[in-house]
Amino acid sequence: MSDDVQQTIFGIIAKESGLDPAKITMDSTLKDLEIPSLDAIQIIFEIEDHYKIQMPDRDPNFDTESVRGLVETVRKLVAEKDAAPPPATPPTV
């Protein structure tokens, strides 16, 4: 399944790592793509900032090392966020 989430994540990976988007597949891991750790944390940051979500950190229930894992994690977190009720009281500034 190719959708917005997948395309957005491919785009973020390509932009942060400087890789040709054609080289990125759902079956790649960040390691296969030879993405250094500093680029990897920037990819995670850009994803979090784009979707306003918090990606899990070394949580055994989530795979954030592979492209497929990143896409699935984002889909799940975005769905959870959309399902969550709005805060009872608006935050005060």
Partner: protein
């Protein structure tokens, strides 16, 4: 002229306690002072734990007028420096000692509490007026300047900043000044007060923080835990110390420094090994004379195996008879103060013949195959030691100490 340099005073404050005696007792007992993060209610922090200085009321140490000038980072430096100077018994009114005393203090982050307050006013409260003392509180040299003012010492005084190696780089500079004869004494150490919202958020984004505790060198390690505090020491010319009958805590034997020049975050075993080797050479110590290394041992996936390889490279077969431990397991990673707190650990080991353990140790990691003194302190005759510090940016500083003769 190469003079012998000794340590005649020490002081410390960190999560383990508010003086050097308490700090050493916590290290020796392997009593972790890492606990739930406090002071950030309502912020939904990803950071769960830290080694914060607790039960601390600055008004017990400083009057209100003085406090206006002091970021928390300078408060810690002053508290530790007062203890170190008192222990040394140095009398700055004697002869020309004021001019012949240096003050070199490392800090990685500087006045972050002041920065945080300024950011809150500017961006949250939309208030363009910052406190008029913001600059003098947060400048990187504020701790060094405040300590020089406190004691009226007028020799070479400056800050050293190299992230997590700042304190060890500061010791190296102070040591060189005393050894060369440029000064007779130096107040040297490191200080950090980095547990602020801005710094915590930045560390969260790097994804190197543990969410449980700090477990250096073991298989279950999940990253570093931030700490804070200061350690300050009096380095003194041996003849000067002996002439006034001072108690000598240890000999400061040498220092070695290097840059990896490879990567801004990933450590290099080659760079670390070069700094270790150069500290031994500088101290004229053989590898076989070193009984204990206080490791950088952050508990991150990258540091611990790299540091292990570096030690093996330099020590060869003697690596298996060395004891290596990381006291960050009990006082966290105090960044620019790390090497200063860890100097308390090596002084304790040299003076009492007790190795402080690596606390929170569960199972060994095949990539980390040295003797890390897991969980329980051990008695050992300790003749000479190293203390490692390896910073982000690939900056390494290692210091070598010998037991007082």
């Amino acid at each position: 002229m190469n003079r012998r340099v000794v340590i005649t005073g020490m002081g410390a404050i960190c999560a383990l306690g508010h003086d050097a005696r308490q700090v050493w007792a916590g290290m020796r007992d392997g009593r972790s002072a890492i606990g739930p993060l406090i002071g950030f209610d309502g912020q939904d922090m990803r950071v769960r734990v830290a080694a914060q200085v607790r039960d601390y009321d600055p008004i017990e140490y400083f009057d209100e007028k003085k406090l206006l000038l002091l970021d928390r980072v300078s408060q810690f430096a002053l508290i530790a420096a007062r203890e170190a100077v008192a222990q040394s018994g140095l009398d700055f009114d004697s002869g020309d000692l004021r001019q012949r005393t240096a003050c070199v203090i490392g800090t990685g982050a500087g006045g972050e509490q002041t920065n945080d307050e300024a950011s809150r006013r500017l961006y949250k409260e939309d208030n363009p007026r910052l406190h008029p003392l913001s600059i003098v509180r947060r400048m990187m040299n504020a701790p060094a300047s405040q300590v020089s003012i406190e004691f009226g010492v007028t020799g070479p005084t400056f800050a050293v900043s190299s992230a997590c190696a700042s304190a060890n780089h500061a010791f190296a500079q102070a040591f060189a000044l005393v050894r060369s004869g440029a000064v007779d004494a130096a107040l040297a150490g490191g200080t950090e007060a980095c547990i602020t919202l801005g710094v915590l958020r930045a560390w969260e984004a790097m994804r190197v923080l543990a969410d449980d505790t700090c477990r250096p060198f073991c298989k279950q390690r999940r990253g570093l835990v931030l700490g804070e505090g200061a350690g300050m020491f009096v380095l003194e010319d041996f003849d000067h110390a002996r002439a006034r009958g001072a108690e000598i805590l240890a000999e400061f034997a040498g220092a070695g420094m290097s840059a990896d020049a490879v990567d801004i975050v990933m450590p290099s075993d080659l760079g670390a090994a070069r700094a270790i080797r150069s500290a031994l050479d500088d101290a004229q110590l053989n590898t076989s004379e070193i009984d204990y290394i206080n490791a950088h041992g952050t508990g991150t996936p990258a540091n611990d195996p790299t540091e292990t390889r570096a030690i093996r490279k330099v020590f060869d077969e003697h690596a298996d008879s060395l004891a290596v431990s990381s006291t960050k397991s009990v006082h966290g990673h105090a960044l620019g103060a790390a090497g200063a707190l860890e100097l308390i650990a090596v002084l304790g080991a040299l003076r009492e013949g007790v190795l402080p353990p690596t606390a929170n140790f569960v199972d060994p990691d095949p990539q980390c195959d040295l003797d890390y003194v897991p969980n329980v302190a051990r008695e050992r005759d300790v003749r000479a030691v190293l203390s490692n510090a390896f910073a982000f940016g690939g900056l390494n500083a290692v210091v070598a100490l010998r037991r007082a003769a």
